[in-house]
């Protein structure tokens, strides 16, 4: 009898807790929407703080930033898709790519090639990207080999901890080797960070920098390239097969270890390119430069639906634009842009854990 009463009480408590839980999401949803409406209306119609030119400026910088996030986010999503692991050292791979590009440009500058002619400037940038991507690829492959492969059969939390350790290791290693100072990227004269095309918006000039355009165009090309690689090539198909079922992939004759190493190599190359773009466009590299973009890109990958390639692209762009336009649109201080970005992560996890384009993972069919 006592047992039964206890069971009833427990059930009741569960029930009440459950009901409360069901109220939480709608409540948060209503609050968030109310807050957004209030701020948007205030800013757009009452304060009218910004002219059209400012909005365009925000949007442009958001799209450029977002395209870098998207390229980094692809690396997270590729690795997650295949190993179900968040490679938290991914941002630091990007940082090393940025440094590799930095030293390449320094060397070209030292040799007097950087600004000799337009062709030599283009060559310098091309080589910087190549070196940045190669170094990052190498680092990513080494990471997989040393920090993740030995833990392949361990519980899922273990490689995650290893990833955080690898991230700290790379950051501190970089600080030790390159120093803690911030280094300024040496752009060629033709691609200085403060020159570009001007756009007239309601009578005012909006500068669209060459580095920004380069970043955006290159990002789009990389995304298209990756999409084709994953969808059309034999290697891409093998990657998708391994992502879905490693045992069966092996039975098909696919060398699973090699496919995983390739996946890391591709994600590293993307991170390296993102690092050089970051350096050219933002202008500053230091040992910690990969941390925030890395976490932001992770947010972008989750927002788009982790494991989903088009999702990472969309998530990156959306996050970049929200980050650039959000504080202004909501009348918040600009220092709160990171808060805004991570609020998106929290909201995505509460309301759409599968992401914008993610699919609900169902149990495997028997």
């Amino acid at each position: 009898m006592a047992d039964a009463a206890m069971a009833d009480a427990v059930q009741l408590r569960h029930k009440r807790f459950f009901n409360l839980g069901r109220l939480v999401r709608p409540t948060i949803g209503v609050l968030v929407i109310a807050f957004l409406m209030w701020r948007l209306l205030t800013v757009l119609f009452i304060q009218q703080a910004y002219g059209a030119d400012t909005w365009v400026r925000f949007a442009v910088s958001g799209i450029i930033l977002g395209s870098v996030y998207a390229v980094i986010a692809l690396g997270y999503t590729l690795v997650y898709g295949i190993l179900f692991m968040i490679n938290f050292a991914h941002g630091d791979v990007m940082m090393l790519g940025a440094f590799a590009g930095y030293f390449t440009l320094e060397a070209f500058n030292g040799a007097g090639i950087l600004n000799r002619s337009l062709a030599s400037s283009i060559l310098s940038i091309t080589v910087a990207f190549t070196v940045g991507m190669l170094v990052a690829t190498f680092v990513a492959i080494a990471l997989e080999r040393i920090a993740y492969r030995p833990l392949r059969t361990a519980p899922r939390l273990v490689p995650l901890i290893s990833a955080i350790g690898a991230s700290l290791f790379l950051e501190n290693m970089a600080q030790l080797v390159f120093g803690a100072a911030r280094h300024t990227y040496t752009n060629p004269e033709v691609a200085k960070r403060n020159i570009g095309w001007t756009l007239m918006v309601s009578g005012k000039e909006v500068l669209i920098t060459y580095t920004g355009v380069l970043t955006f165009v290159l990002s789009i090309l990389l995304m298209i390239g990756l999409y084709i690689l994953v969808q059309r090539t034999k290697m891409g198909k093998a990657m998708r097969a391994v992502a879905e079922d490693k045992e069966i992939a092996a039975l098909m004759g696919i060398d699973v270890d090699r496919v995983i190493a390739n996946t890391f190599a591709i994600s590293g190359a993307l991170a390296g390119a993102a690092g050089v773009m970051w350096g050219l466009h933002m202008g500053i590299v230091y040992h910690f430069v990969g941390f925030l973009p890395g976490i932001k890109a992770f947010t972008a990958a989750v927002l788009g639906g982790i494991g989903n390639v088009p999702g990472a692209m969309l998530g990156g762009l959306v996050l970049g634009v929200i980050e650039a336009m959000g504080p202004a649109a909501l009348g918040l201080p600009f220092q709160l842009k990171d808060v805004l970005a991570f609020s998106i992560l929290v909201l995505a996890l509460i309301f759409r854990p599968t992401g914008l384009l993610g699919e609900v993972l169902t149990e495997k069919k028997a």
Binding site: K234, K237, A238, R240, A241, E244, D245, E247, I248, A249, A250, L251, M252, G253, I254, D255, V256, K364, K365, A366
Partner: protein, 238 residues
């Protein structure tokens, strides 16, 4: 010399002794079936041959070459292909991509196309569904895709695990007819089945597994007439 030979193979799942000394042989162009209850070790035997699991002791020989401890993706290249239990098609790859994965080890593009046509002749339904992703197929279609995919590697030996599982009786008959067809075209088949009656009706020889051991072996006709087999696996009709 037998085409495929297992000599005293012991395989473990951690500390569980799943195969307790399996010895069997398959001759070229034969259909050999392994029958037995759930958990007898039938699938484990196939997984040990295909390299997904490794025997702790004992040896496996393919045409005189020792293949235990060869990784699974190498074993495919040596001519063994497995149609796994539960079909396990790639649900997010299209039917065509699934078949392409089956031919992953091959580079002879023209011949691959020919073999794909051959698979489509065996399973005309798959041809209609080429562009559909695997996850949208019905159980029977998935079984056909799983078999077609395994055949795309052009195997000498085809290991087939429970092809009748969960299929309607009519479909089971169709699948078994196709298995016979594949065999007539020259492929050796090692068939694991719970449906012992069906398996013994198309097999040349068979083995009976119980708790990781082979308790009986012989021609299919002998096994069909064996009173113990009749009682245990053929529904007790005597």
């Amino acid at each position: 010399m037998a085409m495929l030979e297992l000599k005293d193979v012991h395989t473990y799942y951690g500390s569980i002794h799943a195969l307790q000394g399996i010895s069997l042989s398959v001759e070229k162009r034969e259909i050999v079936t392994l029958i037995g209850a759930n958990g007898a070790g039938k699938s484990t035997t196939l997984n040990t041959i295909s390299g997904l699991m490794q025997p702790r002791t004992g040896s496996i020989w393919l045409e005189g070459k020792r293949i235990d401890h060869v990784p699974p993706h190498e074993i495919v290249k040596m001519g063994i292909s497995q149609g796994p239990e539960g079909r396990r098609v790639f649900s997010r790859l299209t039917v065509r991509e699934n078949l392409e994965m089956g031919a992953y080890t091959r580079t002879d593009q023209a011949a691959i196309e020919e073999d794909m046509e051959r698979v489509f002749t065996l399973f005309p339904l798959l041809k209609e569904r080429q562009k559909q992703v695997g996850g949208t197929l019905s159980g029977g279609e998935q079984q056909m895709l799983s078999m077609g995919r395994a055949l795309m590697s052009k195997p000498e030996i085809f290991l087939l695990d429970e092809p009748s599982m969960g299929l309607a009786p009519m479909l089971v008959e169709a699948i078994f007819e196709i298995i016979q067809n594949i065999n007539r075209q020259g492929t050796t088949i090692l068939l694991v089945e719970q449906n012992a009656l069906m398996a013994l009706s198309i097999a040349h020889r068979g083995y009976v597994l119980e708790t990781g051991r082979i308790v009986l072996g012989g021609t299919a006709a002998e096994l069909r007439e064996n009173p113990e087999v009749k009682a245990a696996y053929l529904g007790g009709r005597s």
